[in-house]
Amino acid sequence: MSFWKKIKQKGWLWGMLAGLAFLGIGAVGGQFTVIWRKAVMICLECIGIG
């Protein structure tokens, strides 16, 4: 089996690793704090008021 076929078959694994890397970058940059701050207030736009 060619190298590229093997790489493609393990696409999910590469995707997972990329995801973990992105997650880490986002966490270090404080992005989850931004999300938390938004999520703990009632989102008036979401409910069609704001």
């Binding site: 078959q9 973990l20 992105f22 992005q31 931004v34 999300i35 999520a39 989102c43 979401c46 409910i47």
Partner: protein
Amino acid sequence: MVSGEQMGKIRLAVQLLFTIFTNGYAYGFLGGKIYQGQLKYACVPGLNCYSCPGAIASCPMGALQALLNQKGFTIPFGMLGIFFIFGSLLGRFVCGWLCPFGLVQDLLYKIPIFRKRKRLPFHGILKYGKYAVLVLLVLAGSAFLFGGLAKTPAFCKYLCPSGTLFGALPLLRANEQLREQIGGLFYWKLGILLLILVASIKIFRPFCQYLCPLGAIYGWFNHFSLVQIHWEKDRCISCGTCEKACPVSLSTEEISCSPECIRCGKCVEACPEKCLHFLGKSTRAKKTR
């Protein structure tokens, strides 16, 4: 290996349990308030409004827009991470098994009052609607098209029916202060919700097929996600039963790899030869594409 007639019941049970689990903050429903704990640093995989009184975690679409709504331009790495992890593992299995709004549409489709249709006319064009929603409302819309300097989560504000159903209606029922602020925007969103709910009785998951930006994202991962529906071509007798059973009318070749496949498992359930299955020996390498 999971296959056979139990698949539909298992899926319904998983959908119900996951919806109840991720919306388990019962106090919120009683008091018209939302959960404000640490779990909201995390996101659920499916469309689940974080303003639902019961929601214990964040909605990935709302979270993505919250990042895009920041001052200046931000690459939303945190949410890319969430999408890559859920997508690489599950693909649109999330839509078929873990999305609360998908469950609502599934239940409505079971109501035996209209002659059922799997898709709308012009499906070939309309299925790209979800990509348009992703680009125009979620990405460009939230980043700069709507709201001017005070950016706004355009998808949540103007379209998301899940927010109206799981967020607005329970909150407004229990919270008088919010009820007093209802205006035209709420009725616009209520209209969209009603339209989608009524359409769901006749058409299989119209929101998922034509409008959901989360489905557009996870659909891309369907090509290589870990959870796949494997097709043993050698054993297939080409009877077409799986194609008839597929609620989104995919061909045998397209099943699983297509961005439209929500891995509902109806093809697995229907196959008389049991040559389609979720887990087991992978035969993808043998498939002719």
